[in-house]
Every structure is written in C-alpha cells, then in structure tokens.
Amino acid sequence: MSAPQLLAGPNPSMGPERFAAHVRRLGPAPKGGPALIDLLVRTELTGRGGAGFPVGLKWRAVAGASRGSAVVVVNGAEGEPHSKKDRLLMTSRPHLILDGAFLAAATVRAKQVVLYIGEGHHAALRSMTEAVAERTDHERRLVRIATAPARYVAGDSSATVHLVDAGIATPTTNPPPPRERGVGGAATLVQNVETLAHVALIARTGAATGTVLITVAGAVRSPGVFEVNIGTPLGEAVQLAGGPSEPARAVLLGGYFGRWIESADAWSLPIDPIALRAGSLSLGCGVIGVLPARQCPVCEVAGIMRYLASESSAQCGPCFFGLRALADACTRIAERGTDPGDLQRLQRWSGEVHGRGACKHPDGAVMFLHSAMQTFGDDFAHHPAHLRRSA
C-alpha cells in the first residue's frame, strides 16, 4: 500500500471530516476482539508516540489484566515542541482516532475511554469534542475528555494516568507500568492518537497501513506534516517539505529525545520505525528537524538541553539537578568556549543521570546529548568563546 492512508480523502486543511463522510468513505468500523490483537502483532504496528512499543503486545498485556475494567487513554498531549502530526490528525480525522479508540476499548474490554488532549491545542480539542457528539449514545457514555498541560512530561504515559486520577500531570513511579496498573488502579492502555488511527484502518483492511506521519521542521522551505510510506528515504521526506532552504548541517531525527545525524549520512536513511531501531536510531514521535550549516550546533544543543532541564518535573533529584548541571555546562561551552573540564563533566554527569528517573525524561535528554556530542564532537571540542547563539 502507499501513502496516503490516514490522510487519504479530503484535504486535511479542510477541517474535521464529519462522521457521515467518514463512514461513507471507509465503511463502518469492524468489531474489536482478540483477533484484532493477533492482527496487530502480525502487522508489527509500533506506537507512534515516541517509544515505539509494539502495539499488539501492549494490547495483549492490558487485555490480560483488564477483567472488564480497563481504561483506554487516547494520548493527544503532543508536548514535543516541533511535532504537529497529532494535532493535524485530531483536527482532520477525528473519527479515525475514535474508531481506533473504541476498537481498543472493545478489545481490551475497557469501561472508559479518556481523550487526553493538550490544553493549548484548541482546534484539536474542538474537533474531537464535536466528533464524540456525532457518535452513538453507548460510545458517548464511554468517553471522557481531559486536557493536558503544555509541558513536555505531560505526555508520559504515567503522567496521563496521574492527571486523570489526581489532576496533576506529573509522571509517577514505574513499575508498575500503566498497562498493569493505571487509571483508578485498572489496567490502562495509553496509546498515541496516530497509533489508534492506524488501528482503525488495519482493522478494516486486515493489512498494515505501511505509512507513518512525520513532521518536517527547521531549515526546509515548507515545513509541515506529511504521511510517507515506511522505508521512504529521509531525504525524500525532506523534499516533500520543499527541500532544505539552505545548506544543511545535520538532522535531528525523533524530536528532542532523538538522535543527531550528519546530513550527508541522513538523506539515505529509511523512515522505518523498526529498521531504524535496529541501527540504534529511533523515529520517535516522527519529527525530522533540519539544522542549517550556518547555525552553531553546540549553541543549538545547549538551548535544547536548557529546555529539557526546565521541563523536568523536579520529582527525581538526578533528573532535576543532573539535567540542570548538564545544560549549564553546555551553555558555558556555548558562551565561553570549550573547557576540557566541562567536557569531562558532561561525560561523567551523563553517566550519573541515565536510568535514574521515575520516567524516561532524564534518559531521553542524556541520549540526546550523547548523540550530539558524537555527531558534533569537533564542535564541542573546539568551540570558540562568545559566539552569539542565533535565535
């Protein structure tokens, strides 16, 4: 199959597809059930929120722990700064997401479906709310809408559960993971909106969609969201966005928890969640950021590290203090020039921070930094002082 799948039909910029049009175009959604889990395992669908967890395995775990009281959380927090694809999907194909959500609810025998939507995403919120109103009484009764604070960690699966339960979108201690013990203590399936939209199509056709939504950002002529076939070379995806607007230095693949790749190596990489993982890369949340050659990578990395440090929920000491120390050291190098002591400290502190938070926020930030220091090793080693950070 070939793109577009999720975005087939009317132009996404025309706003939400109404329920009648949705059913006319795709037909009614089939029934969920154990067979769907097998289908999801067979089609190797992976989560599109960032972690890329195999969807079929997660559904099987939740169904096994459900006892008819599971909860499905539809994660549309989209707290990743450059990502736009979840919002585009919510504002254009709300019923595809809802189909996926109700299929999940039927399959894991859930008593509730929570739509967890970033509170700043007004159009998405309106679109999803209106879409729910078009559904059957039974489905409407199942749904509850919760809004997520616009913070990076608010999209963490345990933070979604904590918000629904206690009204506070901070991550909680894991284990137990939400799929075992989530909302109200019940097994909880937290699934990204794009993932559920794929499920809605897979359940209808019995085959993998073979596509993925990406957000191309940075130094490209027309940044935006695109649906590409799995396996599309990264360079082709960037061409969909009009190509680089100026000579590119590197690509950040997978958002702020992603990896830096020199542009020369980047263009040929296949956009394929599973293949990338085998190369210890990750598509993450599907953000492809292009860094122009004129911009200083060290300054860019320092800025992102400061952002990630400020987004620590300050619950775990190593994350809060560690990320701040790392961001400060990066900023010192960016502003005052390379100091071998700072480089050593970056190495040591990275080691001390990794794996020592309740959620994966510190790990994501440290992996991002690690990849930056590998890709931009020379820049970090010979950074001049007083280079102004370009905005």
Partner: protein, 195 residues
C-alpha cells in the same frame, strides 16, 4: 520500706524518661535537618534517635508500673490507659497518660512504618510535638517536688534544648533540595477541579 523504694523509683524513672524523651525529640529534629560531619554520619543520628526512643519506652514502663503498683496512690491499671480516670491528681496524671499514649502511637507506627505508609507515619510522628510538651507539663504538675531546684533545673535544660532545636528547624526550613522546584512544577501542572 519497699513502698518508699517504689515511690522514688517512679520519680527517678519519670525524670530519666523526660531527659530521654527530650533527647529523642532533639535527635529527631537534627535528623530532619540532615546534620552530619565526617565522624558523625546521618545514620548515627537516626540510629540514636530510634534506640533512645525505645529506651524511653522502657523507662516510661518502669515509671508507670512502679506508680501503679504503689499502694499509697491506689492508681490502678486503668489510670495507665484511660486519661483523667485517677482520683489522685486527676488532671496532672491524665496528662501523663495522654503523653504516654501519644508516644506509644509514635513508636508503634514507626516499628511498622512499611505497613502504615510514609504519609500516615509522618502524620502520627508530628504528634511528638504534642506528646513532649504534655509530658513536660505532666512532670511539672505531678512531682510533689516539681518546683524543687533539681527537677526545675532538669526540666529547664530539656525545654531549652528542645526549643532551641525547634527554633533551628523553623529557621532552617525545608531541607529537601527539590521541595521548591517540585511544588512550583506541580502547581503548574495541577488541573484539579476547584471544589
């Protein structure tokens, strides 16, 4: 003769219990304040706090048992359990019973902290700030010789030590280095419905 011995033991054990209890309170506060040095690790404060707390219970038991079995006062075992049930110095003895029961609750919840949970344990532990002053007042009001110089001096030392520790804690504030950042982040992501 043995009755006299009981009477003096009651008073001696009572005075010792007060000193121990005050030391326990001070150590507890020092523990919260994370006081340490190279030769005085933090677990030493905590360990001493716990050991002396258990020791306090032993001497309180001695204090109470010798008081109850003393035939002169005819206190009876009920007095040790039910506050203000004694005909003899009803009010002052009642305070002692209350202070003892609060302390018992604090120690017992500490011994099974894993079961009661950190939050409940902390709540109960705050009762120390009730138990200790009640015990001091009990001591001042009950001792026949409450205002004799030696007991007064002892009590004054205990009160000054504990008040100094409390003052230190008040000034030092929260020693959790994450406290401020954590609460401000939580406030930013708190979406509880106003009730």
């Amino acid at each position: 003769m043995s009755n006299t011995l009981l009477w003096y033991t009651t008073r001696g054990a009572g005075a010792v219990s007060l000193v121990l209890l005050s030391a326990v309170v001070v150590l507890g506060i020092l523990s919260v304040l994370r006081v340490q040095s190279t030769s005085w690790p933090r677990f030493l404060t905590a360990g001493l706090h716990r050991n002396l707390a258990l020791m306090t219970l032993v001497f309180l038991a001695l204090h109470i048992i010798t008081a109850v079995v003393d035939p002169f006062t005819h206190l009876g075992w009920l007095t040790a359990v039910v506050p203000f049930s004694s005909y003899y110095r009803t009010f002052w003895l009642g305070l002692g019973t209350i202070a003892f029961e609060l302390l018992l609750a604090i120690v017992l919840t500490s011994l099974v902290r894993g079961f009661v949970g950190q939050f409940a344990w902390r709540l109960v532990h705050w009762l120390a700030y009730a138990s200790w002053p009640i015990a001091v007042v009990h001591g001042a009001g009950t001792g026949t010789d409450a205002w004799s110089a030696w007991l007064f001096t002892l009590q004054a030392i205990c009160v000054v030590a504990v008040l100094a520790a409390i003052g230190y804690r008040f000034i030092a504030g929260n020693r959790d280095p994450l406290a401020t950042a954590r609460s401000s982040f939580q406030a930013a992501v708190d979406r509880r419905e106003p009730k």
